[in-house]
């Protein structure tokens, strides 16, 4: 028989859980609405559509990294490398095996997943800064390989004439139709992250982040989870890479560099780790801002750098640290003044 205080606690928890779920669903719905409404407004301008698609690509990359960094606590500077591997795998498989985009897409996802598992097994055991440095090493090595293995990747010249995807017999070219395809992919990623955060896997990952020793003691397979999430994160980046390759038509290794990895990482930090909505907004801001700052484009890098420094000094929790976007995980932690658990979703 529960006491009334206990019953109050139970209703508080249940109520908050319901509110959480509701607001998350609303947030995701709003996001979907905005995403799918964009072509309505800018569909006629190829330039704006390109900007929009680029934003989606970045948002997808950022969310994939969010999975690794925010959920599993694995800081990775190698996201651009997996992005590139996905792009190349897809282009090459589609070309050499004649399976078109869809075959390439699946191959890209599988390839990046397997590669990430192999690379992750030895490196994810490292702690703290050494893991980050190791991922930088991976990024540099992978990009160099893409650049130098000319027999496979055609080196600096890159791969051209990558086929456009076909769906129901129609070719999907740049423009609104491709935008919609990428938008669907982004939604898949967001829903996936959201579902993970709400269920068993999310709890176990949270436990791992909070207190690894205690997580092990309750039976969470910490190292296996880390590798699995890292690989999944890479696979999502790989899939995005495939979409990118078939969108842009030709790829070269120079795109997939450390700077791109760092940019994606800053997007995750800006949004606030583990915050799904925050990261999406962060990605959008960082992609769109340079477009609107054309006037000061000469100072772009300096401003960007200054922004990064200020971010770490004053906004370590990113956008998710702001009151509006703050939510909490699971049933919800009660908020104390000014501090809260970095939410898994807004």
């Amino acid at each position: 028989m529960q006491t009334t205080v206990a019953q109050d606690a139970k209703s508080a928890i249940d109520e908050r859980a319901r509110k959480n779920t509701r607001s998350s669903l609303i947030a995701v719905a709003v996001l979907a609405l905005v995403m799918f409404a964009v072509p309505v407004f800018v569909g006629d301008s190829p330039y704006l559509m390109q900007v929009a698609v680029t934003t989606l690509f970045f948002a997808a990359l950022a969310q994939s990294l969010n999975l690794s960094m925010g959920f599993a606590g694995v800081v990775s500077f190698a996201q651009a490398a997996f992005y590139g591997i996905g792009a190349y795998t897809s282009a090459l498989v589609a070309l050499h095996f004649g399976v078109g985009f869809w075959g390439g897409f699946i191959a890209a996802i599988l390839m990046t997943f397997v590669l990430a598992v192999i690379l992750g097994l030895p490196t994810l055991r490292l702690g703290g800064p050494y893991l980050a440095i190791a991922t930088i090493g991976l990024q540099v090595i992978i990009q160099s390989v893409l650049l130098r293995w000319t027999s496979l990747t055609k080196g600096p010249a890159g791969i051209n004439n990558i086929v456009a995807p076909t769906l129901f017999g129609m070719q999907i070219r740049q423009g609104v139709s491709y935008y919609l395809m990428v938008a669907v992919w982004l939604m898949v990623i967001i829903v996936l992250l959201y579902r993970i955060s709400r269920t068993r896997l999310g709890y176990e990952l949270l436990a791992t982040r909070e207190a690894e020793g205690a997580a092990l003691a309750i039976g969470v397979p910490v190292s296996r989870l880390r590798i699995a999430i890292f690989a999944l994160s890479a696979a999502l980046a790989g899939g995005t890479g495939s979409l990118y390759a078939h969108y842009i038509g030709s790829i070269d290794p120079y795109v997939f560099d450390l700077t791109l990895s760092a940019t994606v990482l800053v997007m995750v930090l800006l949004g606030g780790r583990a915050s799904i909505i925050g990261v999406t907004i962060g990605a959008a801001i960082l992609t769109l801002l340079p477009e609107y700052l054309q006037a000061v484009s000469n100072y772009r890098m300096v401003l960007y750098g200054a922004g990064m420094v200020l971010l770490t000094l004053f906004f370590p929790k990113g956008l998710a640290g702001l009151a509006i976007l703050r939510r909490s995980f699971g049933r919800g932690a009660r908020k104390e003044q000014g501090e809260g658990v970095a939410g898994v979703d807004a």
């Binding site: 490292l126 703290g128 800064p129 190791a134 750098g305 420094v309 770490t312 370590p316």
Partner: protein, 287 residues
């Protein structure tokens, strides 16, 4: 055989430059636990400051070297109170991001102040050549080697024999204990930054006459320094120096006999292998 010796000698000489460039990083990483991504920018900055000193004020090469070291060292020491002091104890990710941001500011700052077009740092030794039998030794590289060794020695003496050096060593061991023993953390951190900046700037001034200057010239030096530091063992001066030579010789041989451009792959694979198999590096104080 002679080709082999030539590659070996080139590697040995370049090793001095690798070692000197990486020393500053091992100090920052080992003493302050900061993964400094702006490291390469100091390298470039040193060269550009020397360039201006020699161009504007007509100073000689060696005087410019010393002044550049002082200027960049002072600049670096200001970074601690401005940025890194506030991030102490907050884990490695904030310092990584902050130093990346700093790198952008510095590199693009160089571009804005000096322009992006290639420029040339003049040194009296660049065109000189010493012949040992049939082995050719580039004068500038020989200079790098000699000065690097001198600076390493100076650093070693400083760390082992001076009061500040002792404080640095204590801070490297354990920040809390050092504080309890009366070490002034802020001043020691600033001093560490100053030394790091000065050494790295020196490396830039010494090595870059061989190449053309552009604002991004520090990027690869920065990355390579990471490989050197990890390989040699974070925080170990001797380890870094050794690693610098080993990697430089390895690179020289690899470029000579295998494909050129494979260096990055080799250096970073080595780095990762070291991280996985022997995180202490050659002589480090441990992961």
């Amino acid at each position: 055989m002679q080709e082999f010796l030539q590659h070996l000698v080139n590697g040995l000489l370049t090793g001095g430059g690798f070692a000197l460039a990486a020393l500053g990083l091992t100090l920052i990483f080992g003493v302050l636990n900061i993964v400094n991504f702006a490291h390469g920018a100091f390298y470039a900055l040193g060269a550009y400051v020397a360039l201006s000193l020699m161009g504007r004020t007509g100073l000689g090469y060696f005087v410019a070297l010393v002044v550049a070291m002082v200027v960049v060292g002072a600049f670096a020491s200001a970074l601690d109170p401005l940025i890194f002091r506030r991030l102490r104890g907050k884990g490695e990710l904030p310092t990584i991001i902050a130093s990346m941001g700093l790198s952008l500011i510095m590199v693009d700052g160089i571009r804005l102040l000096w322009g992006a077009a290639p420029q040339y740092l003049e040194s009296p030794y660049v065109t000189k050549v010493i012949r040992l039998g049939s082995i050719i030794i580039n004068g500038q590289l020989a200079l790098v080697f000699v000065v690097a060794l001198l600076l390493v020695l100076a650093l070693y003496l400083f760390i082992e024999k001076t009061w500040m050096g002792l404080q640095i060593r204590m801070l490297a061991q354990d920040e809390v204990a050092a504080q309890l023993m009366g070490v002034n953390i802020h001043r020691t951190a600033a001093a560490t930054w100053a030394i790091s900046g000065a050494l790295t700037a020196a490396a830039g001034v010494l090595v870059l006459p061989v190449f053309a200057l552009n604002p991004f010239v520090g990027d690869s030096a920065g990355l390579t320094s990471f490989a050197v530091v990890i390989f040699g063992g974070v925080g170990s001066v001797l380890g870094t120096v050794l690693a610098g030579f080993v990697l430089a010789i390895g690179q020289s041989l690899a470029e000579g006999y295998l494909l050129s451009g494979i260096t990055e792959i080799v250096a970073f694979t080595l780095m990762i292998l070291v991280l996985i198999l022997r995180p202490k590096g050659l002589l480090g104080k441990g992961a």
